[in-house]
Amino acid sequence: MRQQAPALVFGWPDAEAGETRGAIGIPGLASLYLTHDLNGTVKGLKDTPRSTWPTNLPLVFWSFRIMVGLGLLMIALGLASLWLRWKGRLYEAIWFQRFAVAMGPSGLIAVTAGWTVTETGRQPFTVYGLLRTADSVSPVAAPAVAASLAAFAVVYLVVFGAGI
């Protein structure tokens, strides 16, 4: 539990030590965006029982930062384009065009990272605090699920391949 909690930009969460190594953060920002108050109290992972901790902390930590970071870059791209348009240099600024090309795949990456945050971050729960993933598994046998997943992958590849 922490007041004026910082928003960490970099770092490596170490579950065993119970700390984020090499953390670089913006002081008070996490309190501001989570509680809308610079002095707000933010609950940390250490305020929940250890048995409910996700086992893949760096994955959750980093996919969240990739998602947010790309989002900020997208906003920066938009603002830069407005600025250049206002200055009448939108079609001349080479650096901006390189930036725009480089941002091409950002949407797909950000969506995938965001999906990873929700799906791995909610573990070990399916419904937070109520239903554990292990208890919500369907009675369908594993080979059937694996076969159907493989079949869907093949069918999508065929259909998608034919459509190109």
């Binding site: 369907s138 059937a144 259909v159 459509g163």
Partner: protein, 337 residues
């Protein structure tokens, strides 16, 4: 007056399933007929008769599945795992078939023409067959322990489910031919009159065999068919089916255009209502009733509000599309694509 919300929902979902069966039934049926009609121009006409409506028809499958999940979660959680393989196969078949509508009109080589035509007809056949398989466990029962499916992943496979699978292929084929009789003209229509006779005979044979097998496979069916008041409806069914068959044969002989399709719908309605009455109030035979499987009353009320808004919209646009694309589909005329 107290309204039994659960009963209202059971009737809504049963209606939705029925609408799916007859509507996607005839357009799957058109695909099932592909091996019998091989000329490209005729196949184009066949596909054009269903192209504007087929995806709207599949709305009812989504509504049935979504409704079952939301209102009868226990039924969803036990019935779907028991039918995992046929349902997945059905979905994959529908993927191929659905894509074909877009692909057929953009292909240039003979090879891809053959490939997509095969995808259309095989997809239709497999989807229909798998849906028929799903009927089997409605009669034979599903193994449920506690609140979970307790059977294996091959439980759905039995001689009876193969029979119901083939029966539905025959029935959809009949609906498909009757639809084409209504929507086409000339040589293609004459061919479909002949096909309708063959699929009609196959459908009646299938209804007879499935009906004879039912009381031997299920105690519930045997009891229902021999006790009042269910007997009052079930007993006249064979006579009504016979009358419909006679009317269908007449309609085909007299070259009537709309009546064969109506007879086909009547056959499906009779078979469906008989199945519903034989099962009621079981939603997962032999042990789970609609009231056991239903979600909390407040959820049922909440969902009903949304449905009361959505259902008229779906019915409205469906009616509009059928009205807009009424009349005969002719070869070479600018179609839907």
């Amino acid at each position: 007056m107290d309204i039994d919300l659960t009963l209202v929902w059971a009737i809504l979902i049963a209606t939705s399933v029925f609408l799916y069966v007859v509507m996607d039934g005839f357009d799957l049926g058109v695909g099932i007929l592909f091996p019998a009609i091989r000329e490209k121009a005729r196949r184009d006409v066949m596909v054009n008769t269903v192209a504007p409506v087929w995806d709207g028809n599949e709305t009812w499958l989504i509504l049935s599945g979504g409704g079952l999940l939301a209102v009868f979660p226990l039924a969803y959680a036990t019935r779907l795992p028991s039918l995992y393989i046929p349902l997945i196969l059905m979905l994959l078949a529908l993927v191929f078939r659905g894509v074909t509508f877009e692909m057929r009109f953009r292909i240039i080589s003979r090879l891809s023409q053959t490939a997509w035509d095969s995808a259309f007809s095989a997809g239709s056949f497999v989807a229909a067959f798998c849906q028929g398989i799903c009927l089997g466990p409605r009669v034979q029962g599903v193994r449920v322990e506690g609140r979970a499916y307790a059977g294996g992943w091959w439980d759905w496979l039995s001689p009876f489910t193969i029979l119901t699978g083939l029966a539905l292929v025959a029935g959809y084929g009949l609906l498909g031919t009757c639809w084409l009789i209504w929507k086409t003209e000339g040589e293609l229509q004459i061919r479909t009159y002949r096909l309708a006779r063959a699929f009609g005979m196959a459908t009646f044979a299938a209804i007879a065999v499935v009906s004879l097998a039912m009381p031997f496979l299920s105690l519930t069916f045997r009891e229902r068919w021999l006790t009042w008041p269910a007997m009052a409806f079930v007993a006249p069914v064979p006579i009504l089916v016979g009358l419909l068959g006679w009317r269908l044969r007449n309609a085909l002989d007299q070259r009537e255009e709309v009546m064969p399709f109506l007879c086909g719908l009547g056959l499906f309605l009779l078979s469906y209502v008989r199945l519903a009455i034989s099962l009621f109030p079981m939603i997962v035979p032999p042990s789970v009733t609609i009231w056991d499987a239903a979600t909390h009353p407040s959820s049922q009320r909440f969902l009903l509000v949304g449905t009361v808004v959505l259902l008229p919209m779906i019915l409205g646009y469906t009616a509009y599309v059928y009205w807009l694309f009424q009349g005969k589909v002719t070869a070479g005329a600018p179609g839907y694509h």
